[in-house]
Symmetry: C2
Subunit: 560 residues, 2 copies
Amino acid sequence: MSKAPSLSRRPPRRFWGWGNADAALSEREHATLKGMLAALESRYASRPEPRLDEFTLPAPRVTPSANLAALFSATPLDRLNHSAGKSYADCARMWLRQAPTPPDWVAFPEDEQGVIDILDWAQSNNVAVIPYGGGSSVCGGVEAAVGDSYAAVVSLDLERLNRVLEVDPVSRAACIQAGALGPELEAQLKPHQLTLRHFPQSFEFSSLGGWIVTRAGGHYATQQTHIDDFVEATRLVTPSGVMHTRRLPGSGAGPAPDRLVLGSEGTLGVLTEAWVRLQAPPRFRASASVHFAQYKAAANCVRAIAQSGLNPSNCRLLDTQEAVFAGVGDGRKAILVLGFESADHGLQAWMARALELVSDHGGTYDAEAVSRSMSDQDTIEHRSGAAGAWREAFLRMPYWRDPAVGLGVIMDTFETAITWERFADFYAGVKTDLSRAIKKATGQDTQLSCRLTHVYPDGPAPYLTFATRAADGSVASALSAWREIKQAANEAVIAHGGTITHHHAVGRDHRSGYEREVDPLFRTMVAAAKHAVDPKGILNPGVLIDPVNRPVGITGALAK
Amino acid sequence: MSKAPSLSRRPPRRFWGWGNADAALSEREHATLKGMLAALESRYASRPEPRLDEFTLPAPRVTPSANLAALFSATPLDRLNHSAGKSYADCARMWLRQAPTPPDWVAFPEDEQGVIDILDWAQSNNVAVIPYGGGSSVCGGVEAAVGDSYAAVVSLDLERLNRVLEVDPVSRAACIQAGALGPELEAQLKPHQLTLRHFPQSFEFSSLGGWIVTRAGGHYATQQTHIDDFVEATRLVTPSGVMHTRRLPGSGAGPAPDRLVLGSEGTLGVLTEAWVRLQAPPRFRASASVHFAQYKAAANCVRAIAQSGLNPSNCRLLDTQEAVFAGVGDGRKAILVLGFESADHGLQAWMARALELVSDHGGTYDAEAVSRSMSDQDTIEHRSGAAGAWREAFLRMPYWRDPAVGLGVIMDTFETAITWERFADFYAGVKTDLSRAIKKATGQDTQLSCRLTHVYPDGPAPYLTFATRAADGSVASALSAWREIKQAANEAVIAHGGTITHHHAVGRDHRSGYEREVDPLFRTMVAAAKHAVDPKGILNPGVLIDPVNRPVGITGALAK
């Protein structure tokens, strides 16, 4: 195998898991992991981590044209890093030393012209192109699994398009290149005292472009829940040319062009830059940790808050099991983490009314602690307190999942949204169906936990988590069980009336649910729109929809 | 001509203008009209209103199939009522006794199956279909002007699909048929103590379906400015079948299907029903009328409020000329009408902070009046006071435009949105360009007035109004001048960076601007999506885009 260095300019990534190659767990994280394994009656026995030399990759099937060669890498590290995303199954396959569909090449264009040139070359040579931002997909969205009808596959990594190009402080907006990761773009915005304030769990290793094309879920629990609401204009390189939209605060001129780019998951073009709406960093905060003895009352309280027009920035309801997982519960109470923030005004009136609603529904809280939470410190991040701790643990969670996967643990999450009037039945029904599916696949009795990550006047977005293990403790059995469980989760979410994804995207792994959720006529319209700009069907084939006349079907982690 | 009665079950409409056939002006409205004419140095000399027998309509070119015949009308009243919308030019042509493109038939389906049957028949017989809700389009969106390649044209009136089918009080949503006019749907929601609270100026004569497919602008000045935000699910009859979307509070599963229906303007299918998000009627209100000596300071204040997160329901900035038109100004001050409302909580803190921002920017207000405005009356509408009077005048405006048009007055509005950093130049540039165009077309010096109808953190939605007259006072000259002015307005709005429409839709009259604003690749994608469900191109041809392989081009009022 080639010993050439990676063409990536970022610190080397851990191809078999989350974070940079040198990421390490803290003592406390080790303890958390051990505790979880003990709870699963599983042993913590260190297993050797995957190494590059354990993977044998086939030689690239095509040669890039000479004028583009300097942008193309075929090093094992680059190819493995771009062979899949970061779902449970993606990581499990790495522990099994499986990388069934590595891309032939990874391309690192320097600029938009590079993207155009690469698409031109790919289109002329029947090469599939997988747009790649931070690579954090948990649904097979960046996996180089495109079926047999392409001459080769290139993963197109946008890491060099990572600059904030222009800031408009008056309108509070910025033009940012699509490859910028969360920390990169926030660092560039900070001197302007502005922030995008979009903090998905993948923040460190996901990009603006990825957020937009997957409709990522962000910081705010209400109102502007998705990145969608912050997109002012986009620039998309398609195989038929560059499509751009006009910077506008609002418009009613035909179907909204950006709304077709949002959620297109790399199938219509490669997003190269976008104008996004920014905010001033919050100066005022108020938060409360509310306890409920009854989950039903807690859910009704959240509904009342969601319908009140108070628009909290945080309104995260943890059920009893989730509270235990998060280390803040005793297994008997549901916990509502409620927060307001503003760059403009103190939040006493907002919090006071929300707490009236809390009391109306039987919630209890420490009034002193709420009072102490009312900060007006002029800091971009107020990291102390329970919210700060929760957030830090939230961002670190993918790190300690990695060794757990290697030890045979199956950890996964799925998320959805559902209207309020169906929520109670949905919550009970999905938990029952999934517990049954897990029992069937693994023999284990497993608790699912649920938190509400975002809430709307007409319904919540539940986020479910489970951890279990295969009966024999092997990764191979665990992966096999995961496939059954994942299919059952797709089925349960749709059968009980939810959406296949509120903010994790469709990719390859959610297609079975997507095709039941979304009308075939709409999918036909999207395929026709794609065909108009990508007539050869080279862009991310198999994700979301199949190209016209080019069936790909379900590939990737679920297909084996 | 046939003497058959109209098949419409609603009170007879005034085919040549706004409202029902028996609509009459009040004494005060007569006085307003006379004042306006005097200001234009024009005479108020009553001219005979258009009568049905002054129009000779060609015989219908096709015969509906026998099983559908009972749903089809070819009475002169129905055909004239459906020959165009209610723009200035639509009314002027009626005063000129011109109805150049009446539909051959008007169809009144009883239910969704009727819509399906009519589309089937039309598709088999090369008949164009114009979906028709309330008929209030001001951009040629319902005009039966489809060019020469169709065997006939049917206007498909949804007035019989006007019921609220289901109310979900828990999630606060309702399934409503698309043909329901504003007052119809509000009357049916009222017993449930819920409201859609969508009040465009056309409220009395526009329908839910029309609002959705044109992305109508509604009640709220901030956050949920368009009907878009209230759409939970849709049901669209296309020539290839019925497309429906799932009721969901939010989703990230691919491009949002409803967002392609929103703004489709009848070109993709006929919307038959939609689930929409409702609210409890407001119980708490606070309002202020703020005066500014400097428009620039006023605009900066509105920007600060729009970026504050306070989210007023009303934040309408009238420039000095607009304040005069509205009867609330002395020609020296700009006026900001600021309002908050809530069904949940008192608004003292919200208004207090907004008034701090007002004072920071040099605005003045009557603190006593603000204090008196703080109501918590349990009424669905708080009609007293300046806001109530303004609103009543707002809804009545189209009524007294009618006789003015007949007297040779050109009255029109255009609206857009623009980012804040370009707003000052836009405001000055568009006013200059339009004043010049009006002078050229009419010989008159004319003031344009401007109000901001909706505001976003990144920019306002300016709404401009002008009234002028042709040099010779004739309607024919006025219409001819209007064509020049309208083209100039389309050009100016786009050239200075705005959108061709914030909430009036594209239709036929805004296509010249739409085609400059929206990337050809996106329009190609929309046309391809249309072709996938409407392969013969029978739905509203010429609106928004041309059907694939079936050029229609710009028809209607601007084409002559």
